[in-house]
Amino acid sequence: MKKQNTRIILDKIFKCLMVIIISAVLLFIIALLIMLIRRSQLILSRYTIWELLFSSDWDPDKGLYGFLPAVTGTFFVTVLSLLIAVPISILSAVYISEYMPSTIKSYFQTFIDVLAGIPSVVFGLCALLVLVPLTRDVIGPLFGVKTTGMCVFTAALVLAAMVFPVIISITVESLGILPVGLKEQFLSLGATKWQLIETVLFRAAGPGIISGIILGFGRAFGETMAVVMVIGNKNILIPSLFSPGQTLPGIIVGSFNEMMSVPEHQSALIFISLILFVIVLFFNILANIIKNRLKSRWRYE
């Protein structure tokens, strides 16, 4: 009887412990959000949100805080990198999952996971050495554009390379958990392998693939270091994809040393962090909604 009691007490203790830990995590996120909002008050009291987001002049010394160049820079870099990365990653994932012999598959998956773990500064350095000259000497001239290579396009390329492993590994995983019986039934209707993949597997694994893309988006959107190293860091509205630009995280990195001295400048940078935070939050919530919708719509059992 005594033993029974200690077991039950332990059961309760661990449950409490877990509740405390999970609340702490939640509290931390809320505290972070509150801190960012409060420290952004200063800049928001002097300018409206619209003035900040839609003005294109950035010169803190003159009191000009227009985020539009960085907003558009971030947008183009992220979207372009996903446009490059998504199709390539999904096709690679399909090959790994459905065609590759299982003997090399596991090695390959490890390799992809390693790729996902490489520090972004390494990617940035490689991009500086390889992609920048490539864009300057080959891709730019191909489009008839003169460019230094330090530009939005190069930044998107390096981001795409960083996003591959994320999307690939999640897509491979969601294809891998589909039951063999599902494939057998549709192959028995006379489907070719590609017909099976295109019509059945993409839907059945769809919610997982979408999560992969959203995670990839998060990585591309928030990536700072690798982008700063190759984008040229010019706070202007980009006239073309081959001109230097700026991203939101880039602004913070570029001026966090000076920011301590001027409260208004500091507050502006914190407001940028707030924007980043809110957008990532928003997209994660949106992704969850989409995923659940698709899950019930593309249910296969």
């Binding site: 039951p179 019986g181 057998e184 192959l187 028995s188 209707l189 006379g190 489907a191 059945v200 296969y300």
Partner: protein, 261 residues
């Protein structure tokens, strides 16, 4: 019996599974078997004796498993389906598979049936409408679903889903239907519907069924194959098979004293 009454002829079929770190196992041993046309044939035998493996070999489904090696020949009509020059999807089109549990396509009822014909290039709406209606009628689903063809297939009960999967298989006009314990996940009433459906379908299709349930095999079969540890022990027309089995192992199995059941 004349040879042309036989739809499927299996000759010297050997199947091995080859897993790394495991002893290779010889799943099916030198199978020679004739399966009659437009009859319902049951493959019976204890668990793990290779019934499903034998069934899938008639559809070349082992092709998608890397670790399964198939040797030998399976003829459907005059054609060796293991002929490497034949497109495997063309062969599978002739041989429909209905499995233990139904997997409807993540789409509505109509699209589930139209799926097969569309794969093979049929696009005309009127033609597809006819196929859908016919196939649903043949599986006695039409009355139950005709007003909600655009609803998702997963909303159907599991018994209806199984009949939907049969209808879907019929839509590509196969000659052979492979049924792998298709009632084992269903409630008694749904099972009964499926059983009577099989009895009507056998007039037009060669049906090969794997069953765990001896009584079911007795009720439905025209022809019976008894498989025991990867070997065909005895085959025969159902009446003869159940009333006067020749082999001692068959006798034991159908009287229920087989060890390992």
């Amino acid at each position: 019996m004349l040879n042309k009454d036989m739809e499927i002829r299996i000759r010297d079929l050997n199947i091995y599974s080859m897993y790394k770190n495991k002893k290779n196992s010889h799943i099916l041993k030198n199978i020679n078997l004739d399966i009659p046309k437009n009859r319902l044939t049951s493959i019976i035998g204890p668990s793990g004796c290779g019934k499903t493996t034998l069934l899938k070999s008639i559809n070349r489904l082992h092709d998608i498993q890397e670790n399964i090696k198939v040797e030998g020949h399976v003829f459907i009509g005059d054609e060796d389906i293991y002929n490497p020059r034949r497109q495997v999807n063309e062969i599978r089109k002739m041989v429909g598979l209905i499995a233990q549990r139904p997997y409807p396509l993540p789409a509505n009822i109509y699209d589930n049936i139209a799926f097969g014909p569309r794969l093979h290039g049929k696009r005309k709406k009127s033609e597809l409408d006819d196929i859908v209606e016919n196939c649903l009628k043949r599986t006695y689903l039409w009355e139950e679903v005709k007003d909600r063809l655009k609803e998702p297939a997963v909303a159907l009960s599991i018994g209806q889903q199984q009949r939907l999967c049969i209808a879907r298989a019929l839509a590509v006009e196969p000659e052979v239907l492979l049924c792998d314990e298709i009632t084992s996940a269903l409630d008694p009433i749904s099972s009964e519907k499926i059983e009577s459906l099989l009895l009507t379908l056998r007039q037009d299709y060669t049906i090969v069924m794997v069953s765990h349930v001896l009584r079911q095999a007795r009720r439905l079969s025209d022809y019976v194959v008894f498989l025991y540890f990867g070997e065909v022990v005895e085959t025969g027309y159902a009446k003869e098979f159940f009333e006067s089995p020749k082999d001692q192992r068959t006798k034991n199995y159908i009287s229920g004293i087989m060890p390992g059941l």
